[in-house]
């Protein structure tokens, strides 16, 4: 469950933003989770709730977790591909990529030319798409 560490990062970053933007309450946070990292949405939602700091600004926050499909693009042959097209991977490869998505380059290959030199164009890991909140002056 290293999802807790990621969830905690999201909460910290949210509070930093709330602080710097002078929010008195955070109403909505949209978190995007890349398909590549294979984080289970419910596990992450659970983790986010657990680490939901006791900061009052987070008391009524609506949390939206969206999974972003992974898209790859090969630097050698320019082929674009999806996660499914990279084939089946063994449990160790999946676990490694779950921890550090860049390990895709150790375990996945371009289905067209076999190169490990591809770009993860989308759907890598955890990002915060938006943070909405209330400001005293608004």
């Amino acid at each position: 469950m290293h999802e807790f560490a990621l969830a905690e990062s999201v909460v910290r970053a949210t509070l930093q933003t709330a602080e710097s933007e002078g929010m008195t309450a955070v109403t909505r946070v949209v978190v995007q989770v890349g398909e590549l990292q294979q984080i289970k949405k419910d596990v992450f939602e659970f983790a986010l709730k657990q680490v939901h700091s006791d900061d009052p600004r987070l008391a009524d926050t609506v949390l939206v977790v969206e999974i972003v499909p992974a898209r790859f693009s090969c630097r050698v042959c320019e082929h674009g591909f999806t996660l499914a097209e990279t084939g089946e991977h063994d449990a160790d490869a999946k676990e490694a990529i779950h921890f550090v998505p860049e390990l895709a380059h150790a375990f996945m290959r371009c289905p067209a030319c076999g190169s490990p030199d591809f770009e993860v164009a989308e759907g890598r890991g955890v990002g915060i798409a938006s943070i909405e909140g209330e400001r005293p002056d608004a």
Binding site: F4, Q16, F99, E102
Partner: protein, 246 residues
């Protein structure tokens, strides 16, 4: 898109009293040996010690210290496995012996991810085996590990000296604190490293001779700790990292 990991890095290192980053010029100069030996000596001196291998291309600390590279346990993050008192983290834990060809952005991402999820907890010393070169990995490590103090490994070959000189200039340019220079693998009396250190206004913290017995001791902590190489390195660095009474 806001990257939440940056917010976590400092928090993950909160319990670490001191961060010593071991760098040098080119590869093969002994950065991994110095990092591993310092971590070993620190642990044997009773200090809570961590070791982070940031060479994603050729991780070596697991070979030198002989730690297992299976997946670390997950516990509200990942928990660096304890190896006889040294808490170790390396890309080899995840990649095994597969090559990990990564471009600059990938390196930045992998580094951020590792720093954001690894829970070092309370440490007296975290040793960073710095990535070779002065590209994304090294620049990001310098940027993200703001509290690190640097030890520069040097050797007396002209090829090595030229590259160490470049590295020192870069460290000075980016204004990170440099503890000093360690001369490694000395084969004969030579004042190249001392002169470089003087020219840059840095202390030579110690000299480690080339040690014929080191290779056979790799992976065996008791034998390693008894080598002349590890003992001279410990004598050079422990007093700097843990000044008397601290």
């Amino acid at each position: 898109m806001l990257d939440p990991r940056r917010a976590a890095v400092d928090a993950r290192l909160e319990g670490v009293k001191r961060i010593v980053a071991v760098t040098g010029g080119k590869g093969g100069i002994g950065k991994s040996f110095v990092s591993s030996a310092l971590a070993l000596a620190s642990a044997r001196a009773g200090r809570a010690t961590g070791l982070l291998d940031l060479d994603f291309t050729s991780p070596s600390d697991h070979v030198i210290l002989g730690f297992e590279t299976g997946f670390p346990t997950e516990e509200f993050g990942i928990d660096p496995a304890d190896h006889h008192g040294i808490r170790c983290m390396s890309i080899a834990h995840f990649a095994g012996d597969a090559p990990v060809p990564m471009r600059g952005d990938d390196v930045t991402n992998a580094l951020l991810e590792l720093l954001a999820i690894t829970r070092w907890k309370e440490l007296d010393l975290l040793v960073i085996d710095m990535p070779p070169g002065i590209g994304d990995a090294a620049l990001d490590a310098m940027r993200l590990l703001g509290r690190a103090e640097y030890v520069v490994v040097a050797g007396s070959s002209r090829v090595v000296l030229e590259s160490v000189r470049r590295t020192v200039r870069l460290l000075q340019d980016v204004r990170v604190p440099i503890l000093g220079i360690v001369e490694n693998m000395r084969r004969k009396e030579d004042d190249g490293v001392r002169r470089l250190a003087e020219a840059q206004g840095l202390p030579v913290l110690g000299t480690v001779d080339f040690d014929e017995t080191l290779e056979d001791a790799l992976g065996d902590l008791d034998r390693l700790a008894a080598t002349t190489a590890v003992r001279s390195l410990a004598a050079a660095l422990l007093p700097v990292v843990f000044p008397a009474g601290r």
